[in-house]
């Protein structure tokens, strides 16, 4: 079964033919060549597939495309026009990524946290990212980078 769907992704309407049960993750990766969003578990347990839906973090592997409707999807490719979101800048400043596979999801969740909570403390950062797996063990740097990004964002015009 395949429906014609139009989805708002990174500010652009995308019209696709897809099984409405198909999780957004596979639409992004297989049909739209937006491979920055990653597959890690398929059960919503690892966070590698995290995108934003109307600004809220969501697990793309758990979101059937038929249920998205007019909600606005943002992927890592759309987090900033130039790769310079404060989260991305902080990630680079602290050399956070090792293999980097989990980092798209981590950054999308971190950016969403900072929109909700511009001045998080360490405990809030750890709580927000507890659902994300990093097998390279970059957690210490991730925590520092979110705090740094919060400082940077407070010194910049609102995004």
């Amino acid at each position: 079964m395949s429906n014609t769907l139009t989805l708002m992704i990174n500010g652009q309407p995308q019209t696709v033919q897809a099984d409405p049960e198909m999780p957004l993750l596979w639409l992004l990766r297989d049909r739209l060549a937006l491979t920055g969003t990653k597959y890690g578990c398929g059960m919503g347990l690892c966070g590698a597939c995290t995108v934003q839906v109307d600004g809220q973090p969501a697990r793309a592997c758990q979101l059937p495309v038929g249920e998205i409707g007019s909600r606005r999807i943002t992927t890592i490719e759309g987090l900033s026009p130039d790769g310079n979101h404060p989260v991305q800048q902080a990630w680079r400043a602290l050399n956070v990524p090792q293999c980097g596979y989990c980092q798209s999801g981590q950054m999308m969740a971190a950016a969403a946290l900072l929109r909700e909570q511009p001045k998080p403390d360490s405990a809030q950062v750890r709580q927000a990212l507890q659902g994300h797996v990093c097998r390279c063990g970059t957690y210490g740097r991730i925590e520092q980078a979110v705090l740094m990004a919060a400082d940077m964002a407070r010194q910049e015009p609102a995004r």
């Binding site: 079964m1 395949s2 099984d19 049960e21 198909m22 999780p23 596979w26 990766r29 297989d30 049909r31 060549a33 937006l34 491979t35 920055g36 969003t37 990653k38 597959y39 890690g40 578990c41 398929g42 059960m43 347990l45 690892c46 590698a48 992927t75 890592i76 490719e77 987090l79 790769g83 991305q88 990630w91 680079r92 050399n95 956070v96 990524p97 090792q98 293999c99 980097g100 596979y101 989990c102 980092q103 798209s104 950054m107 950062v125 750890r126 990212l129 507890q130 659902g131 994300h132 797996v133 990093c134 097998r135 390279c136 063990g137 970059t138 957690y139 210490g140 740097r141 991730i142 925590e143």
Partner: protein, 736 residues
């Protein structure tokens, strides 16, 4: 290095598209000599300096987060005095001319250090020579900096860009022995540098194996048998084939290949990943377990019992000093303990996958492989093709840890593509990765030790029982462990103990085994460090002071090794230095405060020395890991920030292995499937981590693995020091 090296001639300097293409010889000297004659010095990798000042290095080792692309680029850029912003790296394909490309064993930087520096120094010498001619300035008055040759200073300063010199440089005679920089002249080496791929890694643009896109690409998954020895009996694909987008469903018999054995299974090929997964749920498969050996233990309890039984018998002796039997009889006090670890899975966040395109005239493969050169040979053999018709492109790896050195997922993709007559991306789900892969063996260590009447350590006996992971042939079974499996943390123990014996016993188990970050050292070092602490408590000695005393002064200790390995001395002075450094970091032993425990573990992995202290705070009947301090001697540190990241990562990896349990078998199948029943370390598990590098040598040695084996024993010792029951098994979390 010999004066011949890198053996460049004028003929070797190609000028392609206006660039200086500098060949270098990577890999072992033995590999070069084997080719013989004029080709013995043929280049196998390249540095390309363009007329536009760009500098491109071909990196022949896989990138999986250890930062090798950045580190090698730093070494090149520094020795060449290039402009870092113009340096880029290109990933080499799998090709025997690069020598050994198996990115394992902490070997990449160590083996590339000298050849890369030689090539860069050669290029720099040629550019200086060219500049001297061009500018009419004597060589002695020229210097290089950030991609330019400079003369004079202040208002008299002149310079020429490298790009403007490459054409002339390529025509000049090659210096036989270019002068390498002294460490004082390093500009980048020894400084923290940002990763060379950071922009791509923070914008979702880095292309991992799973991200590969090809025209006409199909996707595939495999429903695999529960164990390697289980065969396919029958399957019903009627419902699966009815899923829109499914192209074909067919059987795959089990195949044997060294480090590439594939389970029996049923393959589904479809237009996209979702159709594959949807169809797979509708597949009905029956398995044939009749080929399982009758005496094969099929659940974790039976495996453990088999290993414990073997641990009560003598094992094959790998090393013996003095007379342990006599010492045991005369000892004033003795102790015996057993330490267990479970099977472990690598769990790279990017599961195994491979994109293969088998065509009439050859085969092209894109894979996140740690071992592309061998993969190429295996594919050629499997397809009956000449080697030059097979291309293996190495993609970025979303984690490796040793799993992606195996060839099973590559060979599966090739078989499916050949059957489907189309390019196919074969991907493993997380369940596939946990249930059907390669594992680190479960183990039991039977430890015995004793003190003499003065309380000195009189004897030490260490007997490891686990499943060997030596390559097997289809017919031959392994009957005993190899020396290399009883080495680090076991035979290679430098303590001056009068009577020592190291034994090993292989026990057959039904799961495939492969090297997992830290390898068998992970369980040897657990047993050895924990037992040494228990003996220290018995003797009333401080664990750190006792280890230093047991090192018995400054010695270079040599151990017996198999002929396959080069001899490696263990320097007790370097070992003592990291122990003293970590003691400083935590102010060991610290005054005792209620409920807090410091635990020490030390380990030597190859040429790298590690000392680690974990600090634990009791919480009720449980505990919280507050801090881990680690002192490391990995020789010369090229990129301090990258090196620190490696240590941080190794500590988290080690924690994940021992905190959250492992893989268990029941009724002949792995019980775990995803992160809900196979937890891994998360941000809440991360302690405060402090890292110190102890200077130890003029060249860099390995850092990918050495810290991993020290983590579990440091933590177990800390738990015991905090006054809680000592754990002898993983997961280390106290019950209740």
């Amino acid at each position: 290095m010999s004066a011949r090296s890198p053996g460049l001639t004028r003929r070797g300097l190609l000028q392609a598209g206006g660039a200086l293409l500098l060949p270098l010889r990577l890999g072992s000297a033995a590999a070069g000599a084997a080719e013989g004659g004029a080709t013995a010095l043929a280049p196998n990798a390249f540095v390309r300096i363009g007329a536009d000042d760009s500098v491109r290095l071909t990196v022949h080792r896989s990138e999986m987060g250890q930062g090798i692309r950045t580190t090698l680029a730093m070494v090149l850029c520094d020795e060449l005095d290039a402009d870092w912003s113009r340096v880029s790296v290109e990933q080499a394909d799998g090709d025997a001319r690069y020598g050994d490309q198996d990115t394992v064993g902490d070997y990449s930087l160590l083996s590339s250090w000298q050849p890369l520096r030689q090539a860069a120094a050669t290029a720099r010498a040629l550019l200086l020579q060219a500049a001297s001619q061009r500018m009419g300035v004597p060589l002695a008055q020229l210097r290089t900096e950030a991609g330019r040759v400079m003369a004079g200073s202040g208002t008299d300063a002149r310079f020429v860009r490298y790009g403007d010199l490459v054409a002339l440089a390529a025509t000049l005679p090659v210096p036989a022995s270019p002068v390498l920089k002294t460490p004082e002249q390093f500009r980048l080496i020894g400084r923290p540098m940002p990763g060379i791929d950071l922009q791509a890694l923070t914008t979702g643009r880095r292309v991992y194996g799973l991200d590969v896109q090809r025209p006409g690409l199909r996707y595939a998954v495999i429903e695999r048998a529960p164990l390697p020895a289980v065969k396919l009996k029958s399957f019903d694909a009627s419902a699966a084939r009815a899923v829109p987008g499914v192209q074909s469903v067919f059987a795959l018999p089990a195949t044997f290949a060294a480090e590439g054995a594939c389970y029996a299974g049923v393959a589904i090929v479809a237009d996209d990943s979702w159709a594959c997964l949807k169809a797979r749920r509708l597949l009905r498969v029956e398995w044939d377990r009749s080929a399982l050996p009758a005496d094969m233990p099929l659940d974790s309890a039976a495996i453990r019992q088999r290993m414990d039984t073997a641990a009560a018998q003598p094992g094959v002796v790998f090393r013996s000093t003095g007379d342990v039997e006599a010492a045991r009889r005369s000892a004033a006090r003795t102790l015996a303990r057993r330490y267990h670890t479970p099977f472990l899975a690598h769990v790279p966040l990017e599961p195994p996958n491979c994109t293969a395109e088998v065509r009439a005239d050859g085969c092209e493969v894109w894979a996140p492989t740690q071992n592309p050169g061998d993969a190429r040979e295996r594919i050629a053999a499997a397809l009956g093709l000449p080697l030059d018709k097979v291309t293996v492109h190495v993609m970025h790896l979303g984690g490796g840890f040793g799993r992606k050195s195996m060839h099973d997922f590559v060979l599966e993709a090739v078989r499916i593509s050949r059957e489907a007559k189309a390019p196919v991306k074969l991907f493993w789900t997380r369940e596939d990765d946990l249930r059907h892969g390669y594992y680190r063996s479960a183990s039991v260590a039977a430890m015995e030790g004793g003190l003499d009447a003065q309380g000195e350590l009189l004897f030490w006996r260490q007997h490891t029982v686990h499943s060997s992971q030596q390559p097997t042939s289809e017919e031959g079974a392994v009957s005993q462990l190899g020396l290399g499996e009883a080495w680090g943390g076991m035979v290679r123990t430098p303590y001056a103990i009068a009577h020592q014996r190291y034994e090993g016993t292989h026990v057959e188990t039904p799961l495939k085994r492969a090297w997992l970050r830290g390898v068998q050292d992970g369980f040897h070092a657990f047993a050895a460090n924990c037992f040494l602490d228990e003996l220290a408590t018995l003797a009333g000695r401080d664990p750190l002071a006792w280890r230093l005393a047991l090192l018995a002064g400054e010695r270079r200790v040599q151990f017996v090794r198999s002929s396959a390995d080069t001899d490696l001395y263990l320097d007790t002075a370097r070992y003592a230095a990291v122990m003293r450094r970590v003691a400083e970091m935590v102010d060991w032993p610290q005054p005792r405060t209620a409920g807090r425990g410091l635990g020490l573990a030390t380990h030597v992995h190859g040429p790298t020395y590690v000392a680690m202290v974990a600090e634990v705070q009791r919480e009720g009947s449980g505990w919280r890991l507050e801090r881990v301090a680690c002192a490391v001697d990995c020789g010369l540190v090229v990129n301090p920030d990258g090196a620190r990241a490696q240590v941080e990562g190794a500590i988290l990896f080690g924690l994940s292995c021992c905190l959250h349990g492992g893989i268990t078998l029941a009724d002949g199948a792995v019980q775990q499937g995803n992160f809900h029943d196979h937890p891994v370390a998360r941000i809440g598990d991360a302690p405060r981590i402090e890292v110190a590098f102890v200077p130890g040598g003029a060249r860099p040695v390995g850092l990918g693995e050495p810290c991993v084996p020290a983590v579990a024993p440091a933590l177990a010792n800390a738990i015991a020091a905090a006054g809680l029951p000592r754990p002898y098994d993983w997961p280390l979390r106290a019950a209740g």
